[in-house]
């Protein structure tokens, strides 16, 4: 079974400051990793994903994440945040193994609410 832990439920930060949202996962098989953002009253939008290759992944809106296999982590970072980045962020994993019971299914963390203050 897979699980995802987002270590911070809320992260307040001032505008133009750097931010890191932490995500750890556990799985018995190889996984793909994702970060989604959810703005109020909207659905989920993909920020970035790690499938293979370089462990540093760049996404939309200036976000990036680094896959660390030994620490089973996939932390999300942005060097300088804007007010418009205020939203809830979800880390998710899916099984790489074709035909596995969780193949294609996303398992989400609990979410981290990022609040950017002026």
């Amino acid at each position: 079974a897979q699980s995802v832990t987002q270590l911070d439920s809320q992260v307040p930060v001032f505008e133009e400051a750097p931010v890191e949202l932490r995500c750890n996962y556990s799985s018995s098989v190889s996984v793909y990793l994702f970060w989604y953002v959810q703005y109020p009253n909207q659905g989920l939008q993909l920020l970035l994903k790690y499938l293979s290759g370089s462990t540093l992944v760049k996404g939309i809106n200036g976000f990036e994440a680094e896959f660390n296999k030994s620490q089973t982590s996939f932390h999300l970072r942005k060097p300088s945040v804007h007010i418009s980045d205020t939203a809830e962020y979800f880390c998710a994993v899916s099984d790489q193994q074709a035909g596995g019971t969780s193949y294609g299914k996303l398992t989400f963390g609990q979410g981290t609410i990022l609040t950017v203050h002026p």
Binding site: V4, G43, L44, L51, A92, S94, K105, L106, Q110, G111
Partner: protein, 114 residues
């Protein structure tokens, strides 16, 4: 390209009543998902379809929830009878194929059971 369409956006019902949600995925997407997102939690998969076949419904409360995807396109999710704990956002999502491909989410159907 049109996104994943869901309706209704908002629904308030009394407990023990029934409700149905509709989803139209992105054209050509074979895989369709229904997720339940309870306030303060991450989304949880209820059911996954590949074309019109069920791939995973292990977390669907089958005594009250049902879902179908006729002709491998649109899908409906039904709850009957509803309980207070079913209050949540029901997110429909679709992808070209399972695993690794981007999953696109609709804006959700917000259900309040009173």
């Amino acid at each position: 390209e049109a996104g994943v369409a869901q309706s209704p956006r908002y629904k308030i019902i009394e407990k023990r009543q029934s409700v149905a949600f509709w989803c139209n995925p992105i054209s050509g997407h074979a895989t369709l998902y229904w997720y339940q997102q309870i306030l303060g939690q991450g989304p949880k998969l209820l059911i996954q379809f590949q074309n019109n076949g069920v791939v995973d419904d292990s977390q669907l409360p089958k005594d009250r929830f049902s879902a179908e995807r006729l002709k491998g396109v649109d899908s409906t999710l039904k709850i009957q009878p509803a309980k207070l704990e079913d209050s949540a956002v029901y997110l429909c999502a679709s992808s070209l194929e399972p695993s690794g491909n981007t999953i696109y989410f609709g804006e959700g159907s917000w259900l309040t059971v009173v």
